[in-house]
């Protein structure tokens, strides 16, 4: 208790008073005007589907991963999107490890709602085999440093990583055209998600004095302000969602004013994200080009031999570099493994509210862990088709239907060991049931 008291961050009364008095003369602590956004930088990693966003001192990182799962029964043709948040105590001493705080849940919900309700991501294109296999997209949001306005930063990071994410291509094979083949990226280029528009969240802070309004509040301002509102808009000015969690009441005209401001900011931010993604895509395309260095073409005399060797080596290196990130993105199972390391510590449940999870058979949920396996690009299959001949380079998994881990975490939050214990018994059951069907 003592220790906790000593470690929490505090704000003196002087600062609270000062922030309000400075705002009366349109001044903010970091030299911005009330309607200015902080400096935004979007960094995209070489690996697809991961982004880092700096908003002033706020630092957020996101990863996108995909998994083949069985769809919800009432939406057999739609893939799913789920958002997970992780508030590390390193980012802010007030974040507790363990259960997700209200702020963490709200953050995930706001980002999720902006993307889902506006149908920004085409979920139907994620369907592989109607009623049997669809892609489940999972977005992990990690807060690395909290200096205020986490919602906007997390939303931007999620969008940027979704824009760069590519899923492996699938095709149908087999005599009845019901077998799904997942092509590794070396074979066929992975395909990006279809994103119709970018819903950008812009947060406003309100103070006890009704005339005061700030955009993109910092950590200090968040301590002082009495109300907040997050408006999610796209660059066309369509309002996708508004979140106003309690606090000071705000008049109609103020909200309209906020939406106008938010539209301007959303346009700016959209261009920033698009620019960053374009640079990323260009680099990606460049990496793909196999370069034949000029020295190969030149007639090789004795001295140039060394050069050639060197350039050849370079080329080899280049190829290596090229392959390694792809391998990661190629195999959902490979990524899964690295994610597992994180998810051991990750005890937060899904922040996304999932209306359809009830429809999923709990037997299938338990089986989901069985699907996480080797890092070799694996061919994933429906559980009922067991009689496929094995192709040597590809490992065929016959044991179970992979199910969105998101769902597992949502319904059964007990940790991995328990589920592992269930698995072998369940496998037997599966076989029996499939035999019965046959």
């Amino acid at each position: 208790m003592e220790q906790r008291l000593a470690n929490t961050w505090r704000m003196p009364l002087n600062d609270k008073k000062f922030i309000e008095t400075a705002l009366l003369s349109d001044l903010r602590l970091d030299g911005r005007r009330p309607s200015d956004y902080r400096k935004l930088t979007v960094k995209l990693a070489k690996q697809d589907g991961s982004a880092e966003v700096h908003l002033g001192q706020t630092h957020v990182m996101t990863f996108v991963t995909a998994q083949l799962v069985r769809p919800y029964r009432d939406r057999p043709n739609e893939g799913s999107l789920s958002i997970f948040t992780e508030f590390s105590p390193m980012a802010d001493p007030s974040f507790d490890p363990g259960r997700p705080s209200d702020a963490a849940v709200e953050l995930g919900r706001v980002v999720d709602r902006g993307l889902r309700e506006s149908r920004a991501i085409d979920t139907e294109s994620l369907c592989v085999l109607s009623g049997k296999l669809v892609w489940a997209i999972r977005v992990d949001i990690h807060i690395l440093d909290n200096a205020g306005n986490l919602v906007d930063a997390a939303n931007i990071a999620a969008l940027a990583s979704l824009l760069t994410f590519r899923r492996p291509e699938c095709s149908l094979a087999g005599e009845d055209g019901q077998d799904v083949v997942v092509h590794p990226p070396e074979e066929r280029d992975p395909i990006p998600l279809i994103i119709h528009h970018l819903p950008i969240a812009v947060t406003f802070g309100f103070f006890s004095n009704e005339n005061l309004l700030v955009i993109d509040p910092t950590h200090h301002e968040e301590c002082v302000m009495t109300g907040r509102m997050t408006a999610t808009l796209n660059s066309n000015g369509d309002v996708c969602a508004i979140q106003k969690p309690g606090g000071e009441s705000v008049s109609h005209s103020v909200i309209m004013h906020c939406l106008k401001l938010a539209h301007v900011k959303a346009t700016d931010i959209t261009t920033k994200i698009r620019d960053a993604v374009e640079i990323h895509n260009n680099e990606r395309a460049l990496r793909k080009i196999k370069r034949h260095s000029s020295s190969v073409a030149v007639d090789v005399c004795g001295e140039k031999q060394n050069q050639l060797d060197a350039s050849h080596l370079d080329k080899l290196k280049l190829e290596e570099e090229e392959e390694s990130p792809m391998e990661c993105e190629a195999s959902p199972s490979g990524q899964e493994q690295s994610k597992d390391g994180v998810s051991k510590n990750f005890t937060g449940g899904p922040s996304s509210w999932d209306p359809y999870s009830e429809c999923v058979n709990s037997d299938l949920l338990k089986a989901s862990l069985a699907s996480r396996g080797p890092s070799v690009p694996s061919k994933q299959k429906d559980s009922r088709r067991e009689t496929k001949p094995k192709e040597p380079p590809l490992e065929i998994k016959t044991d179970s239907t992979p199910i969105n881990k998101a769902l597992t975490a949502g319904q059964n939050n007990k940790g991995k060991t328990l589920k592992d214990a269930v698995k072998p018994k369940h496998k037997k059951k599966k076989i029996v049931s499939s035999n019965n069907e046959n």
């Binding site: 003592e2 000593a6 003196p12």
Partner: protein
């Protein structure tokens, strides 16, 4: 013999040292007294370093290690800025960014008696002096100087407090006056209180001045003297 040992120690003074470095060998300086400050410890005859930083020496015989960190380790006779967290019947609990909350006895004010106990709201900013800082105990503060006078200590009204590293607050307190404060002071008038625990309080007539001063100080941490002056000039140009 003596001269040799002192020369071997002086070549580390003002240099960066790491934990484990041996800075002095006492076996060949038997009839000397030395005083050790923070970050140093004695292992039999060797004086070794306990934290990374710069080794400082002050004549005639004081050695200590200086570094810059976000967390403050309380030392007696430091002046610090604290925030009142709680008030008990005989103590105020004050947050001084240290590993434990500090106690400020209600009588540790000029002319403090049971009759006139000051009232501090939770969140009040206080400029105080560390009286005791023993390991394993909460540090103790006082709002008087050693002779019992108030001497500028006490609650700070209005203004703006920001946090920085301990290195920056030491730089601001150094003499001759730190270039950034010197340059700012020539053009603007403001009040400042620097706590060695990495907290700085600035107060000026207009909020604009306060914000300019605070940002100039925060930016100056990694700049050299000349750069600080240039930065302040540019900042002042922009606001006038």
């Amino acid at each position: 013999m003596e001269t040799k040992s002192s020369s071997s120690s002086t070549n580390l003074v003002d240099q960066s040292v790491c934990p484990g470095d041996v800075i002095l060998d006492l076996s060949n300086m038997t009839n000397q007294t030395i005083k050790l400050g923070g970050g140093l410890r004695q292992d039999c005859d060797a004086i070794s370093v306990m934290k990374a930083g710069r080794l400082r020496f002050s004549k005639p015989n004081k050695y200590w290690v200086e570094n810059s960190q976000k967390r403050y380790v309380p030392h007696a006779e430091d002046s610090v800025l604290g925030i009142v967290v709680d008030s008990r019947s005989d103590n105020f609990l004050v947050d001084i960014k240290g590993p434990a909350l500090a106690f400020l006895p209600v009588l540790a004010f000029e002319g403090g008696t049971r009759r006139n106990i000051p009232r501090f709201e939770i969140g009040t900013l206080i400029y105080a002096r560390v009286v005791k800082a023993n390991p394993g105990m909460n540090p103790e503060l006082a709002c008087t100087d050693a002779s019992g006078k108030a001497a500028e200590f006490g609650a700070l009204k209005d203004g703006y407090m920001f946090e920085c590293t301990t290195g920056l607050s030491r730089m601001l307190l150094s003499s001759p006056t730190c270039p950034v404060l010197d340059a700012l002071g020539k053009k603007l008038s403001f009040e400042i209180a620097v706590g060695l625990n990495g907290r700085v309080w600035v107060s000026a007539a207009s909020p604009q001045t306060t914000i300019v001063v605070a940002n100039a100080i925060m930016n100056s941490e990694t700049l050299s003297g000349a750069q600080q002056r240039i930065m302040v000039e540019k900042l002042l140009e922009r606001i006038h």
